[in-house]
Symmetry: C2
Subunit: 702 residues, 2 copies
């Protein structure tokens, strides 16, 4: 999106509301613009001043009469729309609206924000804000913000929906020496949002890692598209808050009840390759890791330590985190045996012993880093009497030089005695912590990103054959004309059949004769159920008969059910009686869909049957673009998969058919946004090659 | 255990191996003893010196001729047993053996360690070590160690099985101003272990928190007893490493297969009230929290912040951690409304807004701390322009003074701009972090401890009636005489009945007539199964017949099964055919037992049936002392409990009977250590008042 270039790298900037009075935001912004080293033109706008800080001031942007790339606006909210209008007339294309007092203060503010947005749209202007701290790019350089701190130059782009957090992080990172390429406060996101800035930063040569703190997403579909692309170019790490407000989900389907409020974000982030941080500590530990270390080729970690206990703790941590302890080659072990003292630990973790000086660390690290079975290395240093923290740090830096493709992290477990060594590492860009856990957690983040890069990009379910869209439309048309939103079982089965989903045969019969002729067609035994939108508990009113073996039984059942239902609920409208074929029992699965406001339909798969909400063995994916490969991974996340592979000596089930059904359900709910909820529970799965039967299909439309 | 008093508070100490040569461990220890301010007598022992550091030296402890309370031994390992012998003869009762070269170096060292331990036993000496850094008590004061750092006085007792970690922590804590009451290196734990030191520290008036790093436990049973008592006196926080080595558990029972290698520790720690840390960061964050904050009365947290975003993040964290956001009283909200600006957030989190100075924080904190619905408080401070970090810290300290029963934690989210305020808090003993997460994690630790203190202590299952020990013994005797370890189903049922566990009626019949008479007695229908220790898959050889409705069918089944089995496996020894009553189907549960080397029998409860290993819905407890109340909690941890309460409109099951069966199984496996494995799967649970039926009972003995 070339559009944003002038936003982060403008040639000229007007500061509307610029002021000579210390303490005013307009003063801080102007000072920041000047002191940032911005080398374009700066135009202070203030009707009461001739010049500010030695720069000629203008009453309005219109008066400048030269091209202005960007205007930073810091005037009272009520005046902002007019100022924006002037900017529009003057041909300014980019606004940073610092002023607060919009959507965040209530309905009147929202009204004002809408006016502002309309002005922007009218003049084709892009806007950051309103209600932002501003925008910083350390490489341009520009500091169009009222932040008190201008960060060190670095490779991290940080976009924050909370201005306070942004200011806090700038203050905090200054102490730790962490550098940024860009820091942007997102504010009310009335126009530009994290999506635009992620897209732009993905192509920014100065940015290596993209970091976000967000509280919501404005356009889930665009987020998915843009971020999925960006995440393949560089790591996108997001802390999304507001995960705990469970809210009162009024879900009437199984699938809806199983999906928590945070689920859609979890699934969406995962599917578009976002690395999700769950705390601020994690967000910044990951940022440091990605900025400073290469992405490893795999998950095999080597540990070199001068003490046993910490080595064990680190080993636990590696394995509990889902990483692997590297198994060294025979050559490595042999060389370590020759070079290290006889009491040293030669296997992973390598224990160079408490009396190790830097040279012994160097020897061990050389062998370990060179081992092809090692993907990343953690060096633990405890302060023993002879430990050489600084020289050991130098050895670590040499190894980074010699093995640039392998991440090396350090844990210097101590205080004063190790401080110089730890400081040397941090300044030289080797992540160094007090305890091993954050080092290992960071490596895990790197490894996950490597896995994403190794996942081939895939298209969705576009190559499915035999989808009868018009058939489905016709059924929905009839249902709506009948003033219903919930489909009858026979209607839902018809819809399923239109999309090649193997529904168990079921038909609505209105007379005993019809019931018999339908049963004859599908074959015995059959089940019969009253079809009435008002009757929810069919069994309770004598509305269900099972195991009917012949025409006589079907005929009798028809009359019985009608009599029962009329007896219990004389007022109920009855559509007829549904006749369904009784299928041989298979493994019970559920395939379902719930719809997320932001990200659209989510597909669920897992163990089905009456215990579905008890067992909660369900895996979710976004329906959009769901590939067969991803479905296979989805299946593997469930216990149901163990059944499908053939549990306790049983034959494997027809997994191919399961994958196919999930693809077809995904296609159906993507093609028809009017399907608000859908459950197939149970789906009976049979042996390999024998397919499935979708027994009970519930579809609700809107 | 008054025994340890002279170990941590000796009146006189001999340093064996004391040396004048800098760099020698015996030199460091003597220096440390002197510089620690130890006010008892110090006797350097060195046959080559007349005096060291101006103190008269002795050739041997025997030569002192005055009472010596403790000897610190730092001579080559090979000489240690002789030195210990001399100490014994001289009447020394406490040894700290610093020397390494024992168990940790292999078989010869182990031999030496055994000799040393025997000497100690012979003379009634207690020993710390060998292979330790030593022992520090800052209140005595004494530094009988070779640690380079003598910690600040404080209220944390730290016991570490890793000497290197101990030294690292002392170095690290010196920088952070963390103080300790005692620091003890546990080494090889040949005599004294963490159990002894925890027991002693529980009664040490200078210790408020007990902290341990351990790699194993020497005596699980004593650990449980001692630590359960200690944990009610003060918090015991343990980091136990070696959790990930899954090891090759050759478990033949369901229960054994479901129990991971770390499970016994997890269950044992939980049951005796240990607060388990899972990382070094967590260990020390918890230590700080317990040392510096009171234990709150409940789990309701209030947050006061000057910025929205961090408030949301903290709220998420509170809820995701299992704590609750406090709901303020109407009065509090009304008072906040009066005192705070109109845009302020009055509900929890309280947002005092970005322009809040210290006075506004003070106002808000006063109201929030006084609210009876608030148990603990987290204060977030972001660096806005007008923020007053130091004065805000002072306000926080005032609140701690005014509300000493409520923990107040702070997160100062920034660097340089907030450093002075954060420093003030830390020095004054208010835990202050950069990000909110560790503050909230620490509060959770405090809340857990409060829950432990509120759990009444309970005896075990001693009041169970109708336990026929001799009956069980007789059955085991017969099985062993028959050279078997696995009981037949009918034998296992008999054992169960001896302990009042309602086994489904099952008897071994050796003739068709016997089978019929047994079936007549128990009532039809029945199941018949071949009883042969060699036949594992009874169905495969035609060894099972179900649903037998009368005497004729039983008679025929007997002959059929015998014929089938003889046909398939002519060599198999057949004990006869087991006749079992067919019970009405109930909810399928599992009750089982697996035995841990350290902690004895573990009881499992959960969803049973053929899918038990698939669903893995199992909760574990130590059998020893398992109370009915604890069993209720155990049940609630499982999905099976949802079934028991009556799932989807079903009537509740007989939960009382389930609790009773678990108590009886616990009693059985505690009384009979020879039971190595036991599974009851399924147990059928029926409606309230209808009890259970233990269908398939497997018992293996040794």
């Amino acid at each position: 999106m070339a559009e944003l270039t002038k936003m982060v790298r403008p040639g000229s900037v007007a500061v509307v509301g610029a002021s000579a009075a210390a303490g005013k935001i307009g003063n801080t912004i102007l000072n920041n613009m000047i002191s940032s080293g911005f080398d374009g033109k700066i135009y202070p706008i203030n009707p009461k001043e001739k010049e500010i800080k030695g720069i000629k001031a203008y009453p309005s942007v219109i008066d400048i009469k030269e091209p202005v790339d960007m205007a930073v606006i810091a005037v009272p909210a009520s005046r902002v729309p007019d100022v924006a209008e002037e900017c529009g007339k003057a041909g300014v294309k980019n606004l940073v609206v610092v002023s607060a007092g919009f959507k965040e203060v209530g309905p009147a503010g929202l009204e004002l924000e809408k006016r502002l947005t309309n002005v922007c749209r009218q003049y084709g202007m892009r806007m950051l804000g309103p209600n932002v701290v501003g925008l910083i790019d350390t490489h341009t350089p520009i500091n169009a913000s009222f932040s008190g701190t201008f960060p060190q130059q670095g490779e991290i782009a940080f976009f924050s929906q909370s201005g306070a957090m942004l200011v806090a992080i700038l203050d905090w990172s200054a102490a730790g020496g962490l550098g940024f390429s860009r820091v942007i406060s997102l504010g009310n996101k009335a126009d530009l949002s994290e999506i635009d800035f992620i897209e732009d930063a993905a192509d920014d040569p100065n940015t290596k890692v993209i970091l976000c703190y967000i509280e919501d997403i404005v356009d889930g579909r665009r987020f998915l598209e843009v971020v999925a692309r960006a995440a393949r170019k560089k790591p996108v790490i997001i802390l999304k808050s507001g995960t705990s407000q469970a809210g009162a989900q009024a879900a009437s389907s199984h699938t809806g009840a199983l999906a928590g409020s945070d689920l859609a974000y979890e699934v969406a982030f995962r599917q578009c390759g976002v690395i999700r941080a769950h705390s601020m500590t994690e967000l910044f530990d990951l940022a440091v890791a990605f900025a400073r270390a290469p992405v490893p080729r795999g998950s095999r970690v080597a540990i070199v330590t001068n003490a046993g206990g910490p080595g064990i703790i680190a080993t636990d941590n590696v394995e509990n985190t889902g990483l692997q302890m590297a198994r060294f080659t025979k050559e490595t072990i042999e060389e370590l045996r020759v070079k290290l003292p006889s009491e040293a630990g030669l296997y992973n973790p390598v224990d160079v012993l408490g009396d190790a000086k830097a040279d012994r660390y160097r020897l061990a690290l050389q062998k370990v880093c060179a081992d092809p079975n090692v993907d990343s290395v953690v060096v633990l240093v405890c302060p023993a009497g002879v430990t050489e923290p600084v020289q050991t740090a130098e050895a670590i830096l040499e190894m980074r030089e010699a093995f640039p493709e392998k991440p090396i992290f350090a844990a210097y477990m101590g205080g004063e005695n190790l401080a110089k060594g730890a400081g040397l590492l941090v300044r030289a860009g080797v992540p160094c912590y007090t305890f091993p856990e954050p080092a290992i957690a960071s490596i895990r983040g790197l490894v996950r990103y490597n896995e994403l890069l190794n996942t081939p990009e895939e298209g969705g379910s576009t190559n499915l054959k035999g989808l009868d869209r018009n058939g489905v439309k016709a059924i929905f048309y009839d249902v709506i004309r009948d003033q219903r939103l919930v489909l009858l079982g026979s209607e839902a089965a018809e819809v399923a059949n239109c999309y090649g989903i193997p529904a168990t045969p079921i038909t609505l019969a209105t007379t005993p004769q019809e019931a018999v002729s339908e049963a004859d067609k599908m074959g015995y035994p059959v089940v019969m159920k009253v079809a009435s939108p008002k009757i929810l508990h069919k069994t309770d009113v004598g509305g269900v008969k099972i195991g009917l073996k012949d025409a006589a039984q079907v005929r009798e059942a028809f009359t019985d059910i009608m009599d029962n239902v009329h007896g219990y609920m004389p007022q109920a409208v009855i559509y007829g009686i549904e006749v369904q074929k009784m299928m041989p029992k298979g493994d019970e699965l559920i395939v379902g869909m719930t719809r997320d406001v932001q990200f659209g339909p989510l597909i669920a798969f897992g163990l089905g049957g009456i215990y579905v909400n008890l067992l909660k063995d369900v895996s979710f994916r976004l329906a959009r673009g769901l590939s067969a490969r991803e479905i296979e991974i989805m299946l593997r996340e469930t216990k149901a998969y163990t059944l499908l592979r053939g549990y306790r000596g049983e034959k494997p089930r027809d997994i191919e058919a399961v994958v196919d059904v999930i693809r077809r359900v995904a296609a159906l709910v993507t093609d028809f946004p009017e399907i608000t909820e859908m459950d197939i529970n149970p789906v009976f799965a049979y042996e390999e090659g024998m397919g499935l039967s979708a027994l009970d299909i519930k579809i609700t439309i809107s």
